[in-house]
């Protein structure tokens, strides 16, 4: 279903001139006035916020996660009593990145999420089950988007570390749609297969995933074994909902009237397709908007028309920049671990992170130089008290270990900072 054809099926050139450019101009003027960080960046790049917006956008620098933290104080001051909610995610300096949201943000983002969920073609009679391990806040938001579409039955189902035991209740609810993160699907696969094998005659028709990449192999396996249609919802803490797949399953539609894409080091694939690290400019975020913000995904972006009728570009996420990884949908960054480990040691040094799966648990192996072995207890203690890790560790969702290697391991070999050996 296309919820808003006037936007989603509009001629892209006309949409750019009539809507996107005015929204970008408005954003630039607003942020220049309200954020010390943006004023500094505009001045540094010698950009007048009132000039032609695509020229301005082109000249402005890309934003990083460290830049993002410079927005927080001004965003908080601006929001004042309109402050509605706070999203946090693992920061790059050991403390969480924060996105303050106003009530306007809630409404704007809900509008967009409703368009994205309409693309999943969910009917009013569907029973949508959200399955996750912790805070249900994102699902509440999804449930509200579905409520806008008239869907009556939406259920949040909290999974605990004993996956198979936790899953037993799901069969009685007999959902037609399951919305969850790939890592949880992977860990509960056998349990769900037991309940939802082809021969069981259950009602499950669709799986919507988000927060992490789903490998083609696992996707195909899910489709075949469960006989379901699979959709991807795409977004991020700092940018909120970006887009989602349609029933054509040929990429994720991004709604560029709300989130405008730029690429770092664009590689031209053909006349309608480009590739590069994606950066977003959010024109509909009220309190803490971003301009050319790098969320760490490398994408292929396709500007050709989609048979579904939408004219918006489609992306396929083809990789991550090697500075982060996800645990149960929660993003973590290499720098967070580096800062946490070395913060009390009065020195900076080397580290490698290896992610693997053992008995349905993510194992996080942190490789450190031998010279730190005497600080093992202190380092583990720091990691156990890292905000976002604490819950996963205490509930036994993940395991963590330190491995010490000869000091020259880091000097003599060109090693990757993060090695992800998990399969899902």
């Amino acid at each position: 279903m296309i919820l808003d054809p006037s936007l989603e099926c509009a001629d892209q050139k006309k949409l750019l001139d009539d809507l996107i450019k005015p929204r970008l101009s408005s954003l630039f003027i607003r942020v220049y006035d309200n954020f010390a960080y943006y004023r500094w960046k505009f001045n540094e790049a010698n950009v007048d916020p009132c000039v032609e917006p695509l020229d301005a956008l082109d000249k402005l620098p890309f934003m990083t996660k460290r830049d993002y933290m410079m927005l927080e104080r001004d965003a908080f001051l601006q929001a004042d009593r309109l402050l509605f909610y706070l999203e946090t995610t693992s920061g790059s300096t050991g403390r969480p990145k924060r996105r303050f949201q106003s009530l306007n943000d809630e409404i704007n983002e809900l509008r967009l999420a409703t368009r994205v969920f309409a693309g999943f073609d969910i009917s009013k009679d569907d029973v949508v089950l959200f399955m996750d391990v912790g805070n249900p806040s994102i699902y509440i938001w999804f449930a509200k988007a579905l409520e806008n579409l008239g869907v009556r039955n939406t259920i949040y189902y909290g999974i605990q570390s004993d996956f198979n035991e936790s899953l037993k209740g799901i069969i009685r609810l007999d959902p037609t749609v399951i919305c969850t993160i790939p890592s949880l699907l992977s860990r509960s696969y056998e349990g769900i297969l037991h309940m939802y094998g082809k021969s069981k005659g259950t009602s499950l028709r669709k799986i919507i995933y988000f927060g992490e990449k789903l490998s083609d192999g696992f996707r195909n396996r899910l489709q075949d074994e469960f006989n379901v249609e699979i959709f991807s919802h795409y977004g991020g803490t700092e940018v909120s909902t970006i887009g989602g797949e349609c029933t054509q399953h040929n990429g994720i539609h991004i709604y560029n009237d709300a989130n405008y894409p730029s690429l770092v080091d664009t590689k031209i694939i053909n006349e309608s397709t480009q590739e590069g690290e994606i950066a977003w400019t959010t024109t509909q975020i009220d309190i803490q908007p971003v301009i050319k913000y790098r969320i760490g995904d490398v994408v292929r972006i396709d500007y050709s028309a989609c048979p579904c009728g939408r004219t918006s570009p489609r992306i396929n996420v083809i990789g991550r920049t090697n500075d982060g990884f996800s645990l149960f949908g929660e993003k973590f960054y290499y720098d967070t671990f580096l800062d946490t480990i070395y913060s009390d040691l009065d020195e900076m040094g080397f580290m490698q992170i290896i992610l693997s799966t053992e008995q349905n648990r993510d194992r996080l192996s942190i490789i450190l130089p031998d010279k730190l072995k005497s600080n093992e207890k202190k380092i583990l203690d720091s990691l156990y008290h890292t905000n976002e890790l604490e819950y996963f560790l205490s509930e036994d969702f993940i395991q963590i270990e330190l491995k010490f290697v000869p000091n020259d391991y880091f000097v003599n070999r060109k090693i990757q900072s993060i090695v992800d050996q998990r399969v899902y």
């Binding site: 929001a79 946090t88 009530l103 949040y156």
Partner: protein, 269 residues
């Protein structure tokens, strides 16, 4: 107790602009009598100032507790540091301990879009303490439809996070019913244990009704009533980011011995 009170008053005066404005000089608190000479503070004091004036440090904020009832405008959100959030979890655990339920009991929460964010935090706390929890979103469901969903889950406890009246909920076969600021004697007279959580959006959950009175953790709250109008007056003893000192709530109470009170009138939250 007096040391906790003195500590939070001193800290608030030194670090929170609102209290520095309110008190003409740094209060010298040596006794409860000294403390009770401090002026009350009310919602209007918070509304007359910027949110930043009610907190000690912007950089310490790591969470916002959503309002109980998601109105279009509410006076101010509860802002939390990491320590404040831990304390909120500990208060919640204290409330759970007062209930006559086994560890690992299963919960189902019924909520609606107005109350969903606040209830989501309750779900988060329940899962943290390893109570398997499911949340159902109430729309235009009839009580019978909702009952059918609950029957599929067969929870040990049902939390009603909605202001809609649900007919015959006490007859659904769930042994424990939990409400928020909504004690209803009809829910507890049919062989069902009915617990009511007393909560304020700007402060979070505070007490739980056991039998005829509400019980609260004294290590986190100092509670008194204004002798002139019986309004419940609350002081948070451990919340250093956004302290509430002699805060007049919209509710009337009768204070009982120990850490108990009875609510005689519940205002709007």
């Amino acid at each position: 107790m007096i040391n906790l009170i003195k500590s939070i008053v001193d800290y608030a005066y030194d670090n929170v602009p609102l209290y520095r404005k309110l008190y003409s000089k740094k209060p010298n608190i040596d006794s409860i009598k000294d403390f009770k000479n401090l002026p009350y503070i009310g919602i209007s004091d918070f509304c007359a100032n910027m949110t930043i004036d009610s907190i000690s440090e912007v950089d310490d904020i790591i969470a916002i507790l959503p309002a109980i009832d998601n109105k279009a405008i509410f006076p101010f959100p509860r802002l939390e540091s990491a320590d404040d959030r831990d304390i909120r979890y500990r208060v919640f655990y204290y409330l759970l301990e007062q209930m006559d339920i086994d560890e690992g009991s299963t919960f189902t929460v019924i909520t609606d879009s107005k109350h969903a964010y606040f209830c989501g935090e309750l779900v988060n706390n329940l899962l943290f303490y390893q109570y398997p929890t499911t949340m159902l979103f109430l729309r235009d469901h009839t009580p019978d439809e909702m009952r059918q969903w609950v029957n599929k889950l067969k929870p040990d406890c049902l939390l009603l996070g909605t202001d809609r009246m649900i007919d015959n909920v006490a007859e659904w076969g769930v042994p424990n019913l939990l409400t928020i600021n909504r004690y209803d004697k009809n829910l507890s007279n049919k062989g069902v244990r009915h617990y009511d959580i007393y909560a304020i959006s700007e402060i979070s959950w505070i007490a739980i009704r056991i039998d005829s009175s509400y019980i609260y953790p004294e290590e986190f709250f100092y509670i008194e009533s204004d002798p002139k109008d019986d309004i419940l007056v609350l002081t948070t003893l451990e919340n250093y980011l956004q302290p509430f000192i002699r805060y007049k709530t919209p509710d009337k109470v009768k204070m009982l011995d120990g850490n108990r009170f009875q609510i005689t009138y519940i205002g709007e939250h």
